[in-house]
Amino acid sequence: MSASAIRVSKWFGQKVALSDVSVEFGPGVTGLLGPNGAGKTTLLRVLTGLQVPSQGEVRVLGVDPRRDRSVYRRMALVPEDEAVYPDLSARSFVTLKARLGQLANPGEAAAEALETVGLTGAADRELGGFSKGMRQRAKVAAALVTEPEVLVLDEPLNGADPVQRAHLIELFVRLGDEGRTVIVSSHVLVEVERMTQRVVAMVDGRLAAIGRIAELRSAMTDKPRQVRVTADRPRELAAALIGIEGVEGVRLSGPIVDVTTMDPSTLALRLPAVAREQGVRVTEIAPADESMEQVFRYLVDSGA
């Protein structure tokens, strides 16, 4: 395995950020999933040697990054923080990383990395004037410039627009296909799903699940789902929804109807017709319980 955490715990004073986490990452893309505060960033920081585990140990390409810093020639991190050097141009920033990585031709390598993330046209503009998405791409270029075997990306799609996201996702998949170990953290399941089927899920500093996304989904099928419907005549709509197959209950709160159902697909199919029959205007339909936090808490509680 390219990177592993072995019984790693990390605490800050009284706060436990990681609790006895053992996980291995191999070649290809692995999604590190979990709600905000789950411990994803701490795990990535410990893996890259930015933070020291309170207990346990870390191995990247066979060594502890804290003891053998030469491993930084073969691994790179895209940190979660938006921070870059605002007064540097993208080219200077990526070239700096190439120089620090001791590359023979830093300028050439930087130009290549900037082209890979589609920033060639903006390479000589200062990073301070970049949009959030462009800054993210500059950070990715700075990480890619040394052609790392292990690439750690902490929420790399934050701030990127849909086109940029698609481009970055395609890039991460390609890097994984090349045999590099790509670890991507995210709290958005669908994003990760587009990159990989292999995920590590975390909640409250603990591992909630390791496996394929399909396995996670199947672990959730016996759980009733919450759907939030906003309508101009919620009382009438709620009364009509009770009759739909699979609906177990409804709850009114102002213009909102929270529907509990075992069969969200049927609800989705029948809802427009029911609304039309009742003369109700529906303005919004949204899943109310599909946040990562709830999904993973459920997995933890059910011992998945």
Binding site: L50, S70, D87
Partner: protein, 244 residues
């Protein structure tokens, strides 16, 4: 040493406003000496220059050097850019030496800039262009000593500036004056002992040394040890403490 890391950290440390502010602060003692020498006979002017530079620099130069040395790594940490320089394939010792040298060059730059007005003032008012040279050595010694202590301080503590100010004003300013045994723990006094060895200081300035004996070689030895300790502590911190 890693030249790229050194150059990057030096550039960041000496960024615009900080360079201006620290230089202005470091120049206060020299400018004050220049102003104080106006209309005074040459012998008295020489004495005034030495006394003002020796005493006022305790606060002004020290704070300027504190600002620079703590900023070298603290800035990267505060602006969340530390991962870009920390995850560099160089040993912890090379990382530490590069950072310390960057801070030292920044401190020396500001010390020299801060010394220049006093040198010009001393030259204009006394006609001696060598009068201020021992003060330059004093400033450089202070730059070495404060860099050795304040770079690790900046890396280790979020409130490094406050801790540094407490060291300058409470430890060096009060405790080391009152308790004779604490004199050698004062970087400013170690640097002043070089000044006192290189030139004859007026009584008031000499009294500030307390239990510390004038001596450039003793000071050089202490500053070497201090620099070694500073690099040792920082290397330990890079290896065993959280970087962010």
């Amino acid at each position: 040493m890693n030249l790229h890391l050194f150059r990057h950290l030096l550039t960041r440390t000496l960024r615009g406003k900080r360079l201006l502010g620290a230089s202005a602060l470091a120049a206060v003692a020299g400018v004050a000496a220049w102003v104080s020498m106006a209309g005074v006979p040459t012998d008295a002017a020489i004495s005034i220059y030495k006394e003002v530079v020796a005493t006022l620099s305790a606060a002004t130069l020290s704070i300027a050097l504190l600002i620079l040395a703590t900023a070298t790594l603290r800035d990267e940490r505060d602006s969340a850019t530390l991962p870009y320089v920390f995850l560099t394939p160089v040993s912890a010792t090379v990382f530490t030496v590069s950072a310390t040298l960057a801070a030292l060059v920044a401190s020396v730059t500001v010390a020299v800039i801060g010394w220049i007005p006093g040198w010009i003032g001393a030259g204009v008012m006394t006609g001696s262009w060598t009068l201020a040279v021992p003060a330059l050595v004093f400033y450089l010694a202070a730059a070495v000593g404060y860099t050795a202590v304040f770079v690790p301080l900046g890396y280790l503590f979020d409130r490094s500036l406050i801790i540094g100010l407490a060291y300058i004003f409470v430890w060096e300013g009060i405790l080391a004056s009152v308790v004779p045994g604490l004199g050698p723990s004062s970087i400013w006094r170690i640097a002043l002992s070089v000044y006192a060895d290189l030139t004859e200081l007026p009584g008031n300035a000499l009294d500030l040394l307390g239990s510390v004996e004038p001596g450039k070689w003793g000071a050089a030895a202490m500053l070497t040890v201090l620099t070694g300790l500073g690099i040792g502590v920082l290397t330990w911190a890079v290896r065993s403490r959280d970087a962010i």
